[in-house]
């Protein structure tokens, strides 16, 4: 399975997106992205945790304690209203850029 790394800006976008449907712990975030991308995208823990700290610092997610499916006490990350706003802003920005790139790719 080839490892497809992604730029950290995109990683933040993906983390925010998978958190929209509910709080998750770090491992679950990585898993969810992996699964949803049909196992194409692989999130390294070396970039996941620094990115999570940065998002925490920005105030886009909050951390809380919960119990994992394996019955362990672990930190869950939840999207804050600020984070939701950021996600929407980034999504619309991403769509615009994406469309622009697509149209160049189509016509050029």
């Amino acid at each position: 399975m080839p490892k497809n790394e992604m730029p950290s800006g995109a990683l933040v976008l993906l983390i925010l997106r998978v958190l929209r449907s509910g709080a998750l712990h770090g491992y679950a975030i990585a898993q969810r992205i992996h699964v949803l991308s049909s196992e194409v995208l692989h999130v390294e823990e070396g970039s996941l945790y620094p990115a999570l700290q940065r998002i925490l610092l920005k105030g886009w997610v909050s951390a809380e304690w919960g119990i994992s499916e394996t019955n362990r006490k672990v930190r869950f990350y939840r999207l804050t209203p600020d984070g939701l706003k950021q996600l929407e802003a980034e999504l619309s920005g991403y769509d615009r850029v994406n469309e622009a790139i697509q149209s160049v790719l189509r016509t050029a």
Partner: protein, 817 residues
């Protein structure tokens, strides 16, 4: 904002967050179930980096390590801190003094809105006003919420005739400055008061033994009764440095001093909120023009009223710049010498840490990280040095305050400015003495000699400048004491009759009577008059540029007997004679500059004809060799302000009481002051003596620092080359050869440092020209003596450790390592 808050919260709960992150990573690893996972410790550090606090951890590490290292070698640490403290302390003391005088506002209400005015016209400049003008401004100015005026005078208290300093002030003076009374009350601007006075706190203590029931008592000033209404509080500074003995209302000045015309008062204004000084200046200028139409005599044509901030003990004037420059330069030189010495000590210490550094590099420490560690040690030293220097500077200033009996409100305790100054000096010093050694040590290049040589050169140069300046001052002082200033001062008495309110005719009559009475006194040889008495506190100076040279022209109004009384020989031409209104006598040096190859007699000097040339006599400032003199015959209207000069045949002291009582007996309302020119002269020489002493101490300190540096560096050079010396001795090298091996490398930097030092001293002493009593600022004796002393000390400092090289046992040296 909230991001900053989260960052701070993280900082405060760092340990907990870190533990949680560790647990989280551990969980992640378990879930991965045996598949490869990164280095947890490294992951944790990278994640933590996002919060931006890693530097604190590193700094903490560095500080702890630095403290441990410095504790391990207390001898080095104490020497280093003392050296720095000395360098910083000297500067803290001078800056602290500057701060007290010019930067720290006076303890009065709202000092920032106070303006001190003076008056200026194209041809005139004065810092005092006719009172009528100040009163006019007080009444009509819209931009100033208050105008205050004050004038100083000497009054006689009681029957014994002790003189005291009085300030006559406008009645709003105290209320406007927010003053409170220690006892009784202060002047009340709202009521018309009779002859009442307010005592200053020190005067109340010294003269009235702090009598608690003083308010309401009567005293006699100039034989006029007055009521004491109160005592100003201890911390009331007034405006400006001289706290008087008492204050009285300016309206009462003619009552105490008959004939007083209130022509010279100082003026301050309080600016209304939100206005700039230039607005008030413009308004006052237009008011002055309006007043001139009513009163053309007192107000100058095109008079302007520039202002300066008024809420300070003193204001900076351009003529002070050279003094500031030289004091700052000397202080910074000391600090520079301390830094250079410390730099070489650090380098020498770096050698003994060679192994430690090598080990740390081999186990993976980056050079930048190592440099930072080494520089942190310097910063710790600098911090300790700053703190000690701050304490030393405060102690010095405190001592000065006690010694000069300064008023109590002048508090030398370091404020934020002085503290910030000391800390930034410490930082600058740490960069000066710490960066280069840190760089060299971290690159493991401690054996490179270039930096070492530059440091030696810098030490030599800095201490050389200080020694030469001290040498020049010593020479000047010696010259001042052993030669005459060009006029007789040992046997001359000056009498200041202060004929306030006298008309010129009355004054002439007074002087005629005085001369007639004194001429019969046995021992009196000659009597004359001058407007600016020698060595007095009055002078008139014009700066002029003659033939590309800047000179100070001191002009004086005299009577024809002046030259005879002062024993100033006339070299050419004739003396001034009665009726000489357009004639002038110039001093020899002026004649030489102005008419180098012509006969000066008969030339015109600013509209007057030169009738004679007198020998040089530096009457006002014997220390200034750039000064030249110009003498005019005193016109009739100047008579009331003339000073009488009396030369005696024998010692002057026995005649003083008789002369004083004679001067007073003519008009009992007068309070003539009698001064011995001898004591004025020794006062001046004393002041020069203190300056010389200070410069001398600074010079010796710098030399000591340089010698310490040399001892350290030569000792290091010897230990470094023990093996080589051993081999050479085994092969038959003589002691002289061995010494030359050790010392040769220092010859070039020392000579370069000496040359730079001599050049620096030549430039810096340019500023001192006016203070050297006629000694040239390039005086070869001072330079040679200073260099001789320094070279001798440096050679001693070098030989002391170099002797060790001679005692090297070749066998031991060869077996070593």
């Amino acid at each position: 904002m909230s991001q900053l808050f989260r960052r701070l919260r993280y900082l405060l709960n760092r340990r907990r967050f870190d533990r949680e992150l560790a647990g989280e990573l551990e969980f992640h690893r378990e879930m991965r179930g045996g598949r490869p996972f990164g280095n947890t410790l490294r992951l944790r550090e990278e994640a933590r980096d996002a919060w931006g606090w890693t530097w604190i951890d590193r700094l903490g590490q560095d500080l702890r390590y630095a403290a441990r290292k410095l504790r391990q070698s207390p001898g080095f640490t104490i020497t280093a801190v003392l050296m720095l403290a000395l360098g910083i302390g000297v500067n803290v003391a001078t800056f602290g003094f500057f701060n007290l005088m010019f930067l720290r506002p006076l303890p009065v209400r709202d000092p920032g809105t106070l303006l001190h005015f003076w008056r200026q016209a194209p041809q005139n400049l004065a810092d005092n006003f006719p009172y009528s003008e100040a009163a006019f401004f007080a009444e009509y100015s819209k931009n100033l919420s208050a105008v205050m005026a004050a004038s100083g005078a000497r009054l006689k208290i009681g029957a014994e005739g002790k003189l005291l300093n009085a300030h006559f002030v406008t009645p709003n003076y105290f209320s406007e400055l927010g003053a409170t009374a220690a006892i009784g009350r202060l002047l009340d601007p709202l009521q018309r008061e009779g002859p009442v006075v307010v005592l200053s706190y020190p005067f109340w203590r010294s003269h009235f033994a702090a009598d608690p029931s003083i308010a309401g008592k009567m005293i006699h000033l100039n034989n006029k009764p007055a009521t004491i209404i109160g005592v100003a509080s201890k911390d009331f500074s007034g405006l400006g440095l001289g706290t008087p003995d008492l204050w009285a209302s300016i309206a009462q000045q003619p009552y105490f001093i008959s004939g007083s015309d209130l022509q010279g008062v100082q003026m301050w204004g309080r600016l209304r909120p939100g206005l700039t000084p230039s607005v008030a200046e413009a308004e006052l200028a237009s008011l002055a023009a309006r007043l001139r139409q009513q009163d053309p005599k007192d107000i100058w044509e095109n008079e302007t009223l520039p202002s300066q901030p008024g809420g300070y003990a003193a204001t900076v004037r351009p003529e002070m710049y050279p003094v500031f420059a030289i004091v700052a330069a000397l202080g910074l030189l000391i600090l520079g010498a301390a830094c250079a010495t410390l730099g070489s000590l650090l380098l020498a210490r770096g050698v003994s840490r060679d192994r430690e550094i090598a080990i740390r590099i081999s186990i993976g420490a980056g050079r930048i990280r190592l440099m930072r560690q080494l520089f942190t040690e310097s910063l710790v030293l600098a911090g300790l040095g700053s703190a000690t220097g701050l304490a030393m500077g405060y102690a010095a200033l405190r001592g000065l305050m006690i010694w000069t009996d300064s008023p109590e409100w002048l508090n030398p305790a370091p404020d934020w400015r002085v503290t910030a100054f000391a800390l930034s000096l410490g930082l600058a010093a740490a960069i000066l003495f710490g960066i280069a050694p840190a760089w060299q040590i971290a690159r493991q290049r401690v054996r490179a000699t270039k930096v070492r040589q530059i440091l030696i050169g810098a030490q030599v140069a800095a201490s050389c400048v200080l020694l030469i300046v001290a040498g020049l001052l010593v020479r000047a002082l010696n010259h001042a004491v052993t030669t005459t200033p060009g006029f007789e001062y040992e046997h001359v008495i000056a009498v200041y009759p202060s004929l306030q309110g006298y008309s010129p005719v009355q004054a002439a009559a007074y002087f005629d009577t005085l001369r007639a009475r004194l001429s019969h006194v046995p021992g009196v040889e000659s009597i004359s008059m001058a407007s600016n008495p020698p060595l007095g506190n009055r002078w008139t100076v014009d700066k002029a540029n003659v033939a590309g040279q800047s000179i100070n022209i001191h002009s004086n109004h005299i009577d024809p007997r002046f030259f005879e009384t002062m024993k100033i020989p006339l070299l050419r031409g004739r003396n001034l004679m009665p009726g000489d209104t357009q004639a002038v006598v110039v001093s020899e040096s002026l004649a030489r500059v102005e008419w180098p190859s012509q006969d000066p007699v008969g030339q015109t000097f600013s509209k007057d004809v030169v009738v004679g040339v007198a020998a040089n006599a530096r009457l006002v400032s014997p220390e200034d060799s750039d000064a030249v003199e110009v003498y005019h015959l005193a016109p009739q209207e100047l008579l009331p302000s003339m000073v009488v000069l009396i030369r005696t045949s024998g010692p002057v002291e026995p005649l003083v009481p008789l002369i004083a009582s004679t001067a007073k007996s003519i008009d009992p309302l007068l309070f003539p002051e009698v001064q011995l020119l001898k004591s004025s002269f020794s006062h001046k020489v004393d002041q020069a003596g203190y300056a010389t002493l200070t410069a001398g101490v600074l010079g010796l300190v710098a030399m000591l620092l340089a010698c310490l540096g040399i001892v350290g560096i030569v000792a290091y050079a010897v230990s470094q080359r023990t093996k080589e010396i051993g081999i050479r001795m085994a092969l038959g090298a003589k002691p002289a050869d061995v010494l030359s091996i050790v010392l040769r490398q220092f010859a070039a930097p020392v000579i370069a440092g000496l040359l730079v030092g001599i050049g620096g001293a030549a430039v810096l002493s340019q500023i001192l020209r006016g203070q050297l009593y006629g000694i040239s600022n390039l005086d070869p004796i001072a330079y040679l003596a200073a260099i001789g002393v320094f070279v001798m000390a440096a050679v001693l400092a070098a030989l002391l450790p170099a002797r060790r090289a001679l005692r090297v046992d070749p066998m031991l040296a060869l077996r070593y390592e």
